[in-house]
């Protein structure tokens, strides 16, 4: 067996209430590593033949919680959540921070694979090899903070009863959904702690469809043994040192960006991306630091950076709201994107979004979209159930977020996410609104614009990504550039926090991989074979899509229409994406990825990578586009 793995996966059939152990072959682990890569492999093998007809919310869909060989070793623990995505109908490797992945590995599991659907609300309680499906009626409907409170208390009590002599056992780690997930809202998250979330992909909805409220894990064993512990210790130290040398990154995390990405790089969503520039001093990091941050350093397993801070509103009508920083994405999406420029309002909305179990990025996106339709008179206050959704009207946005989470009134429509909501509103109102939907393939664009050219994403980052608008998985040309999706696939497959690699030599992640597994891996080999294979699998499943939506590369491998409008203000006023440039780069990317002119993986590359069955499955799309 390869080192660095616990060596087995837990399979849970919720319909039959049966569990079993699965061991994957070394070759599979070597090629697909874990997390996102392995999710693609498992999903293709088990669901590939019926992919197009499978509704992501159908019990037959798989819900995966996977770790990787770096989880717990590379400082900053994460867990990868996947399945057929209720947003893109493809596969998204959606990672969430926290101790869950570490705890799972200490319990002796590399991952959990769920199938079926529970008869009634349930949660899974894993204590090492002891697995129990527990009734969750008493927490169904509860918000994030209350869910975690009840589960921590009751599971700790259970552990004490089970191990009466042990002494105090550390609390187990929990992943859960809020009311939004229970109501199968497509922008619902799988959450950890109060504020951590796997948002892209919409797996909270899938978890809700399976009536799975939470997974609680207690692992009492060590992390799986690595091939070279001495080297691993040296590498961990190098990560620590690098983090400690970076004072402002440690102090502010991404919290400085709410101002800077607007004022400096002009790439922050403002009023649903009608602008990407603001220089509102009221939204400076110092305002957050001085007014609302009550804990300066908060981190996940092994993390030297502590990009998280805890915030609490101390005065005014939102007094008592608690969340983390918010991090940049939620600062932006629940801030300037909605015309909100004060820490208190931003913290309040973020706290509410956490409590409801919604994704701050994608719900912020759909709220901004609705507000623009209100601005344009397409949606009236009457359509919105009496809400005057003007920019900056925090209370109206909060009320709408509640309705989305509970699928009440217009909330039911907006709960489908920006893209699907846009399609419905077009039919309802007979007006074109897709041009205001800032998304790619059903997934909202992360809060990093590309018009100014000063932020990190490239002009094809979102258009050609196999994870749509996901800002943590962005396509780039050249395809093997360290900033491209092929490298990001490694982060999500080895499953660790990429933030701790900033400033280090790029190759260090592969050094970690070798120290953990004992398997040699060079960046070149990764990019030209393994990552490319995972990319093709994700691309194939994205293009097969279905059943409610399918993507046509010709029209859907594109930026949101908004990005072709010139920036209206700021230092980069007038900057705009040129379609010809985007198309040219896109064609180059297709070629480098081994895709034909229609964006479909070619038989040659698929056969070279040993994906003959994928090649066969894509024949029908090839015929349809020719």
């Amino acid at each position: 067996m390869i080192c660095g793995y616990a060596g087995k996966f837990l399979e849970v059939d919720l319909s039959k209430e049966r569990t079993r152990e699965t061991v994957l072959e070394d070759d599979v682990l070597r090629d697909y590593i874990g997390g996102r890569g392995l999710a693609s492999k498992i999903l293709w093998d088990r669901l590939g033949s019926k992919w197009e007809s499978l509704n992501p919310l159908n019990p037959r869909n798989l819900l995966l919680f996977l770790t990787g060989p770096l989880t717990g070793y590379f400082p900053g623990g994460r867990t990868c959540v996947s399945g057929k995505s209720p947003q893109s109908n493809g596969v998204v490797g959606s990672t969430v921070g926290g101790e869950f992945g570490v705890e799972l590995r200490c319990a002796g599991w590399d991952g959990i694979i769920f199938t079926g659907e529970a008869r009634k609300p349930s949660y899974l309680f894993v204590i090492d090899s002891n697995i129990e499906i527990v009734d969750a009626d008493h927490i169904w409907g509860k918000d994030a903070k209350q869910t975690l409170r009840v589960l921590t208390k009751e599971c700790r009590r259970h552990l004490t009863e089970k191990f009466p002599k042990y002494g105090e056992m550390k609390e187990p780690s929990v992943l859960y959904i809020g009311p939004a997930g229970e109501n199968k809202v497509r922008t619902a998250v799988v959450a950890a702690k109060w504020t951590h979330a796997a948002g892209y992909g919409g797996y909270g909805a899938l978890m809700g469809a399976k009536k799975l409220k939470a997974i609680v894990v207690k692992g009492t064993g060590p992390l799986p043994e690595v091939a070279n512990l001495r080297r691993m210790r040296r590498l961990i130290k190098a990560v620590y040192k690098n983090a400690y040398d970076s004072e402002l990154w440690r102090r502010w995390g991404t919290g400085a960006a709410g101002y800077e990405v607007g004022a400096k790089t002009s790439s922050e969503p403002v009023h649903n991306w009608q602008d990407e520039w603001h220089n509102r001093r009221s939204f400076g990091v110092d305002k957050f630091e001085n007014r609302v941050w009550i804990k300066q350093s908060w981190s996940d397993f092994g993390c030297p950076t502590c990009c998280l801070k805890i915030s609490m509103v101390k005065t005014g009508k939102f007094k008592g709201a608690i969340t983390d920083n918010p991090d940049y994405e939620l600062q932006a999406y629940l801030g300037p994107n909605l015309g909100i420029f004060t820490p208190e309002d931003n913290v309040y909305l973020t706290s509410l979004i956490d409590d409801l179990g919604l994704c701050g990025i994608q719900t912020g996106n759909v709220l901004g979209f609705a507000s623009e339709l209100f601005q344009r008179g397409i949606l009236s206050a009457e359509d919105l159930g009496g809400l005057r959704l003007a920019w900056g009207n925090t209370e109206a946005f909060a009320a709408l977020a509640e309705r989305i989470a509970r699928r009440e009134g217009i909330g039911d429509l907006l709960a489908e996410g920006t893209y699907r909501a846009a399609l419905q509103i077009e039919r309802m109102k007979n007006v074109e609104v897709l041009e205001y939907a800032v998304q790619s393939k059903g997934i909202s664009i992360g809060a990093h614009g590309i018009r100014s050219g000063k932020d990190y994403p490239d002009i094809i980052s979102y258009a050609c990504s196999v994870q749509g608008g996901d800002h943590t998985s962005t396509a780039a040309f050249p395809i093997n550039d360290p900033g491209s999706e092929l490298w990001e696939i490694f982060n999500d497959s080895a499953v660790y926090c990429n933030f701790n690699s900033f400033g280090l030599r790029r190759k260090i992640r592969f050094d970690f991989y070798e120290a953990a597994t004992g398997v040699e891996l060079t960046p070149e080999e990764w990019c030209s074979t393994k990552a490319l294979r995972i990319l093709q699998l994700q691309r194939a499943m994205l293009l097969l899509g279905g059943p409610d939506l399918k993507w046509n590369p010709e029209t859907d491998d594109d930026n949101p229409a908004r990005f072709y409008e010139p920036l209206p203000s700021g230092p980069y006023k007038g900057k705009v994406l040129r379609r010809a440039r985007v198309d040219k780069t896109k064609r180059k990317y297709y070629k480098a990825a081994g895709w034909d002119k229609n964006g479909i993986p070619k038989p040659r590359i698929l056969r070279k990578l040993g994906l003959q069955d994928v090649d066969k499955a894509l024949d029908k799309i090839r015929q349809a586009t020719d």
């Binding site: 717990g72 070793y73 400082p75 101790e99 570490v102 200490c106 903070k145 209350q146 975690l148 409170r149 921590t152 700790r156 191990f163 002599k165 042990y166 002494g167 105090e168 056992m169 550390k170 609390e171 702690k193 109060w194 504020t195 692992g219 009492t220 064993g221 060590p222 992390l223 043994e225 512990l229 210790r233 961990i236 620590y240 400690y244 009550i294 804990k295 350093s297 908060w298 981190s299 996940d300 397993f301 092994g302 993390c303 030297p304 502590c306 805890i310 609490m312 008592g320 608690i322």
Partner: protein, 190 residues
């Protein structure tokens, strides 16, 4: 020797003699980021593995934000040592730490019951109790915590102080930290 050391620590009438190297880990719990590098360092040193539940110092997070390290306070009256029915526990003369004789320990749990903070816990797989031994005077947890600049853990020399105040249960500590952090709002998370 051990008995006399213990006696001198219990003497509260003024300055008294302790071994020069005797140390204590001062702890500022509310600063803890919850990074758990102390668990990594402790288990690597003692178990040669990353093993959070076998670490002698463990970070609890019963309420998010209220993360804190739970580990031996080396109470001046050492109730755990007194409670051990098989004399598996002793006090290090040099450091003041509680030492566990693994071969003698029967994992009966009497020391856990005797500790006002229920700090000791059993080894997850072996039949013995785990108590911080101050790494023979060079605590690895303090090292990583200081390197990181969190300064939750600081090494100080052992003096005549009420160290046993720091032996509190995870629930007790959580209650205090949640109050400090969230004020009255904190009640609803407990």
């Amino acid at each position: 020797m051990e008995a006399s050391f213990k006696k001198s620590l219990n003497y509260l009438g003024g300055s008294y003699v302790v071994e020069k190297q005797a140390i204590w880990i001062a702890r500022d719990l509310s600063k803890c980021s919850g990074c758990r590098q102390c668990e990594v360092a402790c288990s690597l040193f003692h178990e040669k593995q990353v093993w959070p539940e076998a670490s002698r110092i463990r970070i609890f997070m019963l309420v998010p934000g209220a993360d804190f390290p739970h580990f031996c306070a080396q109470c001046e009256d050492y109730p755990c040592v007194d409670a051990c029915p098989v004399k598996a526990l002793s006090i290090s003369e040099r450091t003041g730490a509680v030492l566990v004789k693994a071969r003698k320990c029967t994992a009966c749990g009497k020391c856990i019951e005797a500790c006002p903070g229920r700090v000791p816990h059993l080894h997850p797989t072996e039949k013995r109790v785990l108590i911080c031994d101050l790494c023979k005077g060079k605590p690895r947890c303090v090292q990583v915590c200081s390197e990181g600049g969190w300064n939750v853990l600081t090494e100080v020399s052992r003096r005549n102080r009420a160290y046993n105040l720091y032996a509190r249960t995870p629930e007790d500590i959580t209650h205090d930290l949640v109050t400090k952090l969230y004020g009255e709002m904190g009640e609803q998370f407990l």
